[in-house]
């Protein structure tokens, strides 16, 4: 049992558990000590000093994020002196920061700005030296702007600790310290997987997505194009947050309506192509179980994971499903099947994907995913970008009347919806694989073992007496642990789902920034977004991908059968090892 201690916060006695920091204890008691570099999922940096508190008997203020509670400790959190010191600290950070809030992409949703407001900074004493570095615009997904960086190090920590990608590090020192990839190489040439988690945790606009909203606004005005959108499952689960609504509202019909008001001619559902992915992937898995191809089979929907695979795990490329992602499958169907259907020149179709993901921008630019020489998806915008566009165009999203998706690519099953939550692809695939393999209906279709936010989840199903062992990992760090197991023990699993982002796509790098009362990647928020998708699933009459009537028609009229010739041409691809080679350092071994 944990030992209890008595501490005093602002002269009030409290009983708290031993072995936690002052900040952790204070958080539970309703004191939110101001903070900046701290993030509950990351190691303690202690760099910003914003979270200082007064501890009686200590010579200096202590950083509450790093200092453990002790018996009888007398802590003060907001004395006059302390508030002045904190304000000075934040002011000095701001002195080196470009004062361009009103033209900054994160104006109004910036942690530093919020902090300056809370500290009561009403006038400035100093003009500090500014940083003057080039922005790195090389990546298809992520822009790095060192001038706005306050060196809190969250990006470096999430990239190494949660994602284990280690694309970022601190270079040089003192005032000249810059967060950058190795050798100051362009982001596009680095090991960066474009997952965008650095954007999620950045308190300023030092990392932002490559923004296509202006370009899209222009294209939407162009009458010579047929404008077609698709919406990823997780977008509907989080877009409300971009309009200050509480997390967890499923807003698919609202989003479809808003996109039409923005100027799209057709709004399709990526959940339909998720069903299509399941048809192909479940069939591919059953082929592999019959001995045609490598096991364990690993999913291929997550674009950040695919880039990670090519650079970090080239030895496992043969294990990864050849299925394209739902976005690219939908793009391919739009430029072929749909173009035929409406008798349009596919070159005159503008295929836009609204995604929860920054890595999808990279995926859309992959040359191997082209369809008849055309990109399957012309523009990818994130949930954040589309939320901004809806605001900018003056569309009342909060009160909008919902509308359905368009035919012929608008109906989806519940299995397609849960793709956005970690474990969802696995669950959807198993639902279909079971019925395709056994020919019997699956009684209990909710496979709860693979749900939830545990780093690595395992499950078992029985197909005609054959035990199928599955595993699910979300976040590239968890994926690393799982894949190390696979390298050592290739027989252990048959089927593995990997998603690049914590929580799966609902925690994607393109999702709305954390609101003023939450932290980025807050677990409660991720759970609510996932729950929104599970509730969509529960409320659908069709919950299995192979029962989707639009998908059935697609095969009947156009594709033939899963893994058929047309499918191979349009829905499958191959991956190749890529440089630079990624390195995941071994866990620190304590002597």
């Amino acid at each position: 049992m944990t030992k209890k201690l008595t501490i005093y916060i602002n002269d009030k006695p409290y009983e708290v558990d031993e072995g936690q920091t002052i900040m952790q204890a204070a958080d539970k008691l309703g004191y939110h000590i101001p903070r900046l570099c701290y993030h509950p999922k990351l190691s303690i940096e202690g760099a910003c000093r914003v979270c200082i508190v007064e501890v009686e008997g200590m010579r200096n203020y202590v950083a509450s994020c790093a200092y453990p509670v002790a018996e009888g400790m007398k802590i003060r959190t907001h004395t006059k002196e302390l508030r002045t010191a904190r304000r000075d600290i934040v002011e000095l950070i701001l002195d080196n920061h470009p004062q361009d809030c009103h033209t900054c992409e994160r104006d109004g949703i910036c942690e530093l700005q919020r902090l300056a407001y809370a500290m009561g900074m009403r006038h400035r004493h100093f003009e500090g030296e500014r940083k003057n570095y080039e922005k790195d615009l090389s990546s298809a997904s992520v822009i790095r702007d060192p001038n706005k960086c306050i060196l809190c190090g969250r990006c470096v920590r999430i990239c190494s600790e949660i994602q284990k990608v280690n694309a970022l590090g601190y270079a040089h020192r003192g005032f000249k310290t810059v967060v950058m990839p190795a050798y100051n190489m362009p982001f596009s040439d680095s090991v960066c997987t474009t997952c965008g988690q650095c954007i999620n945790v950045c308190p300023t606009a030092s990392f932002v997505e490559k923004n296509y909203s202006q370009e899209l606004f222009e294209k939407l005005q162009d009458k010579s194009y047929i404008k077609v959108a698709q919406i990823a499952p997780s977008v509907r689960a989080a877009i409300g947050e971009g309009f200050d609504l509480a997390p967890g509202r499923a807003m698919e019909k609202e989003t479809a309506a808003a996109l039409r008001k923005l100027g799209f001619d057709y709004v399709f559902d990526t959940q339909l192509s998720a069903d299509l992915t399941i048809m192909e992937e479940a069939s591919e898995f059953l082929e592999r179980v019959k001995g045609k191809g490598k096991l364990p089979m690993i999913t291929s929907c997550s674009s950040a994971w695919m880039k990670c695979l090519e650079q970090f795990y080239p030895d496992l490329i043969g294990n990864v499903s050849t299925c394209k992602s739902p976005m690219s499958m939908m793009g391919a169907m739009i430029k072929t099947y749909f173009a035929d259907k409406i008798k349009a020149d596919p070159k005159k179709i503008l295929s836009v994907a609204v995604m929860c993901c920054t890595a999808k921008k990279y995926e859309a630019a992959r040359p191997e995913l082209k369809v008849n020489g055309m990109p399957a998806v012309d523009i990818v915008v994130t949930t954040r970008e589309i939320a901004w566009m809806i605001k900018s165009a003056g569309i009342d999203f909060v009160h909008i009347q919902g509308e359905d998706f368009d035919k012929p690519l608008g109906i989806s099953s519940g299995a397609g919806a849960i793709f956005g939550a970690t474990g969802g692809v696995m669950e959807a695939a198993l639902r279909t694989a079971y019925e395709l393999y056994t020919g019997e209906p699956l009684v209990d279709i909710e496979i709860t073992d693979v749900r939830g936010l545990k780093g690595i989840k395992e499950g078992k199903v029985t197909l005609d007496g054959k035990e199928i062992r599955v595993a699910v990992a979300h976040g590239l760090g968890n994926a690393n642990h799982l894949l190390e197991t696979v390298r050592k023990d290739p027989e252990r699993y048959h089927f593995i789902e990997i998603m690049g982002c914590p929580g799966g796509c609902v925690g994607g790098g393109g999702q709305p920034y954390a609101g003023s009362n939450s932290m980025p990647l807050d677990e409660e928020c991720l759970k609510k977004r996932a729950e929104a998708l599970y509730s969509i699933d529960r409320h659908k009459t069709i919950r299995l991908s192979h029962n989707n009537p639009d998908v059935r028609r697609l095969y009947r009229e156009f594709l033939g059968k899963p893994l058929g010739e047309k499918s191979h041409e349009l829905l499958h691809t191959h991956y190749k090892p890529k440089l630079p080679c990624g390195i995941v350092p071994q866990e620190m071994t304590v002597r």
Binding site: A171, H172, A182, S190, V191, P580, I583, V584, T589
Partner: protein, 172 residues
């Protein structure tokens, strides 16, 4: 998986042997600074190829190696020239006109402190006292001290090195 650089360079072979001894020891990654010292001793600077090799052999991400390499001034990130000039900018030399000497060197070599001339012949570094204040202003080329410098003499010394190299190229 490793991505080691393939090369026949004997320096690389020596580096590999050096790292082999450290690999597998507890906290082997903490030897990074010692390894980078070895790289600089062998190559005269930290080349990208060598850092990639260190990354692959020690399983340390390149972003981390780059962080350490750029943190310490001692580590050089560009190949030094065939002759390394260190100009003293300490107090005594400065009072005796080191500023003018530096100006002359910049002009003569078309480089700044930390740079290497385009022909790869000279690189220029600053020093804080070479212990020869009696001869101020001084500079050191490859360990040899030149004292009581004037801009004119700097020019002559540099010309001397150039002539010497031209002659040795001819005779070879």
């Amino acid at each position: 998986m490793t991505c080691a650089v393939k090369t026949q360079d004997p320096r690389m072979a020596e580096l590999k042997v050096f790292m082999e001894q450290l690999r597998g020891t507890p906290r082997s990654e903490s030897n990074l600074i010692a390894i980078l010292h070895k790289v600089q001793e062998l190559y005269g600077y930290l080349s990208r190829e060598a850092m990639d090799e260190v990354a692959a052999a020690m399983q340390i991400p390149t972003a981390h190696i780059w962080g350490v390499a750029t943190f310490y001034h001692y580590f050089k990130l560009k190949a030094p020239g065939r002759h390394v000039i260190a100009i003293c900018l300490g107090t005594a030399c400065y009072i005796r006109g080191a500023g003018e000497i530096l100006e002359k060197l910049r002009d003569e070599l078309k480089i700044d402190i930390g740079g290497t001339s385009s022909d790869g012949m000279f690189s220029l570094e600053e020093a804080r006292c070479l212990g020869a204040c009696g001869l101020a202003p001084v500079m050191m080329i490859d360990g040899k001290i030149y004292g009581s410098l004037t801009p004119k003499r700097v020019s002559e010394i540099i010309q001397g090195y150039r002539k010497l190299e031209a002659a040795s190229v001819k005779s070879a």
